[in-house]
């Protein structure tokens, strides 16, 4: 009894009395850890987003006071033929950004997975992903150049005349998509390689024992099991295709005659060349809405996958 009392007393005295202020601090502690990041998100993401949405309902030249314009920027957009060309190009870019880099990334990943010396080829294919999009634009401008470009010089050897790779629509968009594919295939390949290495071996071995052909193995076993990764890669590609800007700006500036503009290029042009910043904000809102819709599906896919794990 005496021992127990002593122990209790010792424990009681060793433990500091919880004052109301301390309790508040304890409750606030987790929020304090998050606070710096939250401040950054609010200041550099949410606040500009809200400002952009407000600005999209104004006429604003960046110098004089903005004037409320209601929905006029949005109605003007859909009556603007250049915006419709831009929307169409964005659609082409988005489809191509999904079909080419994702498909090629999947093919390379399946082909190179577990193959001897594959590390070398994986590095070669991944390397372009480490270069900035602007640098890729400059590099491919040399390749696609009309007079001194590497591609036309090669074609000249076979007696083929120079082609305007960057100055004739729609070939200019396709050329730039080619450069984009070169850069972004590696990242998709790495994503699929991670997926392949995490696949359970039993179904694969069972299929082989049952006499499944290599093509059947890929088509009926591997791809279905990789589907969560395919979905993630696809949705990421859609969002990236929607936002593509720097490479186009470096290679054609959206020209000639605005023929290769995408929504992001049109937004930049209106905002920082024409200084129609309200109109530019309206385009930004449309891009953001589209990206938001795809991001929602992307996040839902990721979260579902985590639940399965």
């Amino acid at each position: 009894m005496t021992d127990a009392t002593t122990t209790t007393r010792t424990l009681t005295t060793a433990r500091p009395v919880a004052r109301p202020g301390n309790r508040l601090l304890q409750r606030a502690e987790p929020y304090l850890y998050v606070l710096p990041a939250a401040i950054f998100v609010v200041a550099f993401l949410l606040y500009p987003m809200v400002l952009t949405v407000i600005r999209s309902f104004t006429h604003d030249d960046g110098i004089t006071a903005p004037q409320f314009a209601g929905l006029q920027n949005f109605t003007d957009l859909f009556a603007d033929p250049h915006f419709l060309v831009s929307l169409n190009n964005t659609f082409i870019w988005t489809i191509a950004a999904v079909v080419l880099p994702v498909t090629l990334g999947l093919i390379f990943a399946i082909t190179l997975n577990g193959v001897r010396w594959s590390g070398f080829f994986k590095s070669i294919i991944y390397l372009p992903a480490t270069i900035s999009a602007a640098a890729v634009g400059i590099l491919f401008s040399f390749i696609f150049g009309y007079d001194n470009g590497a591609l036309n010089s090669l074609l000249n050897v076979f007696g083929i005349h120079n082609v305007r790779w960057l100055f004739e629509a729609p070939i200019n968009s396709y050329s730039m998509i080619g450069a984009y594919t070169w850069q972004s295939t590696g990242l998709n390949m790495m994503l699929f390689l991670v997926g392949l290495q995490g696949l359970p071996q039993e179904p694969l071995e069972a299929a082989k024992l049952d006499g499944c052909t290599p093509f059947g193995l890929v088509w009926r076993i591997i791809i279905p099991m990789l589907m969560p990764y395919v979905v993630i890669a696809t949705l990421l590609a859609v969002v990236n295709g929607f936002k593509v800007f720097d490479q186009i700006w470096v290679m054609t500036q959206g020209g000639p005659g605005r023929s290769s503009e995408t929504l992001a290029v049109t937004m930049y042009r209106e905002g920082f060349i024409m200084f129609n910043q309200g109109y530019s904000a309206a385009i930004a809102v449309i891009i953001a809405l589209a990206a938001l819709i795809f991001s929602y599906f992307y996040l839902r896919s990721v979260l579902d996958q985590e639940k399965q794990i």
Binding site: I63, G145, F167, G255, P256, G257, Y268, F272, I273
Partner: protein, 412 residues
Amino acid sequence: MNFVKRLALSAALLGAMAGVAFAQSVDFYHDKANWQDAFTSALAKAPVGVTGTPYADTSSYQAAVRAALKTPSAPGMFTWWSGYRMKDLVDAGLVADVSDIWKKYVDAGKYSASLANAYTFDGKIYAVPVNIAWWVVFYNKKVFAQYNLTPPKTWDDLEKINATLKQNNVTPFGATVQGRWPAFIWFEEFLIRQDPDLYNKLMTGQAKYTDQGVTDMFAKWKEWIDKGYFTDPSIDFGTAGSNAMASQFAQGKLGMILVGTWYVSTLTGAGMSADDIGAFIMPNEKADMKPALIVESGPLLVSANSAQKADALKDADYWMGAEAQQAWVNAQDFPPINVDVKAKSALITDLATAINGGGYNQINRFWEATPPDIAEAAVDEIGNFMVHPDTAAQTQKNLQALADKYWANHKP
């Protein structure tokens, strides 16, 4: 005692550091990165030290300056574009009146008062000149000598030169849409060679892009394109780094380039000897017209709201003086604008003699002569014509639609 000594020492150290941190300096923003060294040398002895901040990209430069101008942290000085391009800054009260500086130099006979016209709004002057450029034709002297050609006196002479060069597999003229803005070069040139009055009216909304004179101009342009008198319109011009046009000119594959006089340093940078570069002013298509040439006037402005405004005005005054101008001309080989300054090269000296004594009608460049809302969109339309010369009629309609949209809400 020791404590007092340490305190005094710390105070002295802090004072010295503050002196360094708050030393007087004027921020000078510009988008001419390759001129930075020349600016530095010309302003080396400015009364208040100048810190140059070059921007590589013109559109991000404009956005940064426009955003800063409303605040006290605006750069003390910055380069811009004259005419309509600086009008909105003047209207918004963002740039300082420098009329007094001009008065000092004009009264002393050092500058021609007409030079300030491109910077004058409602009787006040809002900029000092960075440079004046004449838009002339540079030709490769070796190529001309090889085919026994001399600079043309008439339009027919020019047509003969084009035909001769083309026959000998030399492309007569460079023309490009690279970088967007160069598309206006030949638009304005063909137009002033046919009808300078129409050009001036067009710039201020008093004529239409669908007028017969503009149709005739496009027809002449298309004729030259069809004859192969121009490079492919995709050729690099140096606006994005590489410069195939200057290289071809240096190699003798291209005979002539129509451009501002500031291009001389680009040509010499491409490996061309200055002695091999000749220059002439384009003849008019109609012989009875007054000789004319396009003039570009680049301004340097002082921010009205900048905390450095007073110091910047002192430096702007120094900039117009002979010492800074001579250093500037020596570094850049620009035409001198202060009468006490001598041209660096024989090429510029000869041009100055010809232009000053030739009674030339000096016409504002398209980029500054018409509002940027029209000019910026127009270069895309004109560029499309250069790539697809069969679209002249549609180009004219599109240009007029741009003009209609702007002039409906603005006075000429």
